[in-house]
Amino acid sequence: MVLYGVAALAVCMLAGTLVGEVLGIAVGVDANVGGVGFAMIMLVLVSHWLRGRGKFPEPTEQGVLFWSAMYIPIVVAMAATQDVAGAIAGGPMAILAGLGAVVAGAALVPVLARIGSPAEPLPPQDADEKQEV
């Protein structure tokens, strides 16, 4: 049943978020520490385990894949609801501070990616795959 996949996803997200909140309280910060990350790891482990036992059939899988396919439209909706006007109204200092942080962070990506064993690029997508979201 498709809903089983959606429900599994929901349980993973709730559990992960809860872990992130508890971790935040434990280290004394008013923020969720890695909740989404924990949820993702849970989903990977749980789905892998269930698949191995034949308990994660195709329809269940579809319930997860539907939300994965909804990801880009959701991000587009997120973009349309950002406070872009507020960001620009912050003036040159806010713009420079934000921009500077991005440039500095991006510049270090190749340096950090070199730590440990090298990684191969993902296989290229063809034009249809790029459009299909």
């Binding site: 004394g28 923020a31 789905s47 950002q82 406070d83 507020g86 912050g90 990684a119 034009a127």
Partner: protein, 254 residues
């Protein structure tokens, strides 16, 4: 007209689905016609979304972009943190845990380095603009990390409300720049594999920025970048008002 508006307002989430569908359709067409597919349809859609958000913000004076128009309020639900995180988690389905383990060290390192780096850049820029007190500097530095870390630090160290507002603006700029800029800089920084995506998520940290930027670059990288970015704000809130602020106060004195 009134009937139309009330139907739209009562079914706001459904309006959002239709609206984003239309936006994606236009974006896919623009991507094919204008850039011959070089700029992904999703990148164009995110860009159009940001333009609409800017327009909505200037017309209504609100903080939720185009969702401040009541008929488009469903976009706020569709693009809000709940469904965004739900969709991000779902992208992890089928991810290879070996890839994550392989990038574990550089991923973890990138988070701490990313917070410290953003903080330092923010502090330096704030100092150039004439701020001298540790509380204001630390708040703007934290805002350069993410727009959540800024106010958390600002409140903790007792910064003034206009400085806190500036820190939020700095964080918003960062998130918007990452959304728009990632597909453009991806080839330059080797952002084409899970490992560099994890380093990218940790160094930039803004969940919305990384989520949008990687979606516009290559959707397959999203789970890896999101995995590290999700720890960033928490680490930032931990380090900002404590270690980073105390160190900064020792340097600038008060």
């Amino acid at each position: 007209m009134d009937t139309l508006v009330s139907v739209f307002e009562e079914n706001d989430l459904v309006v959002a689905f239709a609206l984003v569908g239309g936006l994606m359709l236009v974006s896919g067409w623009l991507s094919k016609k204008l850039s011959r597919g070089r700029l992904h349809g999703s990148a164009v859609a995110i860009l159009l979304g940001l333009v609409l958000a800017y327009w909505g913000g200037t017309v209504t004076g609100g903080e939720k972009g185009i969702a401040d128009f009541a008929v488009f309020s469903g976009l706020g639900l569709m693009g809000g943190a709940m469904l965004r995180d739900f969709a991000i988690v779902s992208t992890a389905y089928g991810v290879d845990l070996k890839e994550i383990k392989r990038a574990g060290l550089s991923g973890a390192l990138s988070i701490v380095l990313g917070v410290v780096l953003s903080f330092v850049v923010g502090v330096v820029i704030a100092a150039l603009f004439g701020y001298t007190d540790a509380a204001s500097l630390a708040t703007i530095g934290s805002g350069a990390a993410t727009y959540i870390v800024g106010p958390v630090t600002g409140t903790a160290v007792g910064a003034s409300s206009d400085v806190i507002a500036l820190s939020v603006a700095a964080g918003l700029v960062k998130s918007v720049v990452v959304m728009v800029g990632t597909p453009l800089i991806a080839p330059l920084i080797g952002l084409n594999n899970p490992k560099s995506a994890m380093a990218f998520g940790g160094l930039l940290g803004t969940t919305s920025g990384v989520a949008g930027g990687l979606a516009a670059t290559d959707k397959r990288l999203v789970p890896y970048g999101a995995m590290t970015a999700t720890f960033y704000t928490g680490i930032g809130c931990l380090l900002g008002p404590s270690l980073l602020y105390v160190t900064l106060r020792a340097v600038v004195g008060g």
